[in-house]
């Protein structure tokens, strides 16, 4: 745990250094936010909420950081037809009681019209019913639990551990020859338990073997987890963890010379610009990561806009990871939906209807069209890319590809009904 506490701030610092791509960060001229008027909005503020989970053992604040930057940019460029967005962000600190309190505060006391950029491991579980009861939508960005993808009023732009983890395993089976994978996650039923359970089903469906190794999130013991993986005789390790613990486990393996004993794959959390400074050369060419959105140095218009907006409007120390991209694009889709409304008739009901009316919008950050619709569950993003960690950065080894799992059956039905697939 001490190792972990050292790594997390180091990574946060590295991620906060906004010099990861000077070319992108300098592209202010390409910045585009909302109405692009260049004049600050001065009307009656529109209250929007956001909840992140930022405390040991993980920091999921990238989504709200980027959403805050985008909304600041929107407000400086005419707002929502003259009305600025007042973005209120709360931190649930991985505490279910606190998550319930801040959710209630935002939805009932502050009367937010929607929540955008949310990222947490506990908040969605505690507040999913509240959102449904109060008719408020949450356009989340850094979701990691089942409630995010199985609730009527939550739609997340990031894939979450299930598609991203299966995406990583699909690559591992097809390209690395994986036969038996260990899914290492937190022992939280709707997080590590849920995701690793579906990993194992996926492995079985491919005639392979999967083993869950779940650890106590309050007492992370990475050495014992590593030894357990050795004892299970797996050939692949899937790091179903937030960035801090995942890097901690890689460090344990490095100390014990364990790199070549396994194939190492991970879902998206470990994909951060500053990760090279922490991992060093040892892992170069040996760590494969499924990324849920585009590479952070990709050349698409939305990605360049994300880099420019976060460089100009972000705060020092903001995380610039996949969840940041996700928060940015969530905020953009949200803003675009609000701009279709009469500014005098913006309230929770009209905003919820506008969000549910989002169907088939596209972004270079995503592999497929984004949609919400009126459904009992949402998972618009389930196709990702695969990158390999190399020389302190990441190189794409497989571009956009989807996954095949029974979990997506109801999602595929929705997409057919909305005319987004055949």
């Amino acid at each position: 745990m001490k190792n972990l506490m050292k790594i997390v701030p180091a990574l946060a610092f590295a991620a906060g250094v906004q010099a990861f791509s000077p070319a992108l960060a300098d592209s202010h001229s390409e910045m585009s936010c909302g109405m692009n008027t260049g004049k600050a909005a001065t009307g009656e503020p529109i209250k929007v909420g956001g909840i992140n989970g930022n405390a040991p053992p993980g920091d999921f604040s990238g989504g709200t950081d980027a959403a805050a930057a985008y909304f600041a940019c929107v407000n400086a460029n005419g707002g929502i037809n003259g009305r600025p967005i007042e973005y209120i962000v709360e931190n649930d600190q991985w505490n279910p009681e606190l998550a319930g309190q801040v959710g209630t505060k935002l939805v009932k006391d502050e009367g937010v019209v929607a929540l955008v950029g949310n990222g947490s491991v506990v908040s969605m579980a505690v507040n999913a019913k509240l959102y449904a009861d109060e008719g408020v939508m949450a356009m989340a960005s850094a979701c990691a639990i089942s409630e995010c993808y199985e609730s009527s009023n939550i739609v997340s732009t990031n894939q979450g551990p299930l598609p991203s983890g299966i995406g990583a395993l699909k690559f591992a089976i097809e390209e690395l020859g994986t036969e038996h994978a260990a899914c290492i996650g937190f022992n939280i039923p709707n997080n590590g338990g849920w995701a690793c359970d579906w990993m194992n089903r996926y492995m079985e469906s491919k005639g392979k073997k999967g083993t869950s190794i779940l650890m106590d999130p309050t007492a992370v013991d990475l050495n014992s987890v590593y030894l357990q993986a050795l004892a299970e005789r797996v050939d692949t390790i899937l790091l179903m963890l937030p960035a801090g613990p995942a890097i901690g486990l890689l460090k344990v393996a490095e100390e014990q010379g364990g790199r070549d004993l396994f194939k190492w794959v991970s879902p998206t959390p470990i994909y951060e610009p500053g990760v090279g400074e922490v991992l060093g050369d040892y892992w170069s060419g040996h760590l494969y990561v499924n990324i849920e959105l585009a590479q952070y140095d990709s050349d698409g218009a939305d990605n360049r806009n994300w880099a420019a907006v976060t460089a100009k409007y972000g705060k020092e120390g903001d995380r610039l990871d996949t969840f940041s991209q996700s928060g940015f694009i969530s905020a953009k889709f949200f803003t675009d939906a609000l701009l279709t409304l009469d500014p005098d008739k913006i309230d929770r009901a009209t905003v919820t209807e506008a969000i549910k009316g989002i169907v088939g919008v596209e972004s270079d950050l995503l592999c497929g069209p984004y949609y919400v619709g009126d459904a009992d569950r949402h998972m618009p993003n389930h196709a990702g890319r695969m990158v390999v960690y190399k020389d302190g950065g990441f190189e794409t080894v497989r571009d956009c590809y989807d996954i095949d799992t029974a979990y997506l059956d109801p999602i595929r039905e929705q997409e057919k009904a909305l005319g987004l697939s055949q």
Partner: protein, 328 residues
Amino acid sequence: MIQTLSRNNLIILVVIVAAIWLLPLVLNSLWIKVVTSAVIFGLAAAGISVLFAQLGLINLSQIALVGIGGWVLLRLNYATGLPFTISLVAGGIITAIISSILALPALRMRGLYLALVTLMTAGAFQIIFNAFQFPNGGEGFWGVAQQSAGAFRRPLIAQSDVSYLRYVLTVAALCIAVAGVHRLTTPGRAWAMIRQSEANAMAAGIDVTFFKMWAFALSGFMAGIAGGLLAGALQQLDARTFVASDSILLFALAIVGGVYHWLGALIAGLLFKLLPALFNDFGVSADLTLVIFGAALLHAIMTAPRGIAGQILSGFAGLVKHRETSHD
């Protein structure tokens, strides 16, 4: 003096009952949730007070017992169609039984050694909660499925947060009243004698083993009820809520609040949940409350052994006496 104290108790009781019905009307949604949590943990603190004030026994496993009560309520909620209140009482009774079994080592231990044993118990339950998690609608004994939690049933009369706060206040008041009745009747007299001298108590014909286990059972019952109420408040539970260190903190706050009066337990609950929430709302790290709690504990140990409640009650009694003297 007794008459004065009784009258003071009555006045404070009236104020608290009025607060029960007025608080939900004046608090906003955030503070309704916070006060609900504060009252729940105040009830758990009242259980600590029963053992410490009556028998001088230190129990550092109260948060674990709260978790047990919550576990039972969740399990019954998902496995049966029992009304919430029945499940709540069942959780309290099962926790009382477990607590009285855990009391067995206490029959021969006091002070630091008992504190260590109960703390290790809390640690053991922390591991169990983390390993097996809380029921969420799954099958089998543990009732845990690797999925989202199933639908939870609150009491029919307490569906909203406001009505649930009133429900919690009412249940807490009833439990504290039960503890008060114990204090004034045979168990209370037996506990007082045991505290003075176990040998004398045995010589007087008191079954020391039985009454000690009874005290642990009552304390556990209150913790179990608190756990069930917490499960109802959150509509799910997470193992991270029941770490062993929080048992130490709650015990310390029970001392700060005052273990010799039920008002002290309420103060302990408010300190435990309200103060961190205030800090969070002001954007200040809630960890700072630990510094304040440490200073408050030192203050209580050195200058206010009856806690904040004792100071309030003494001040109130002095005020009444002063007024009576003035009238005379």
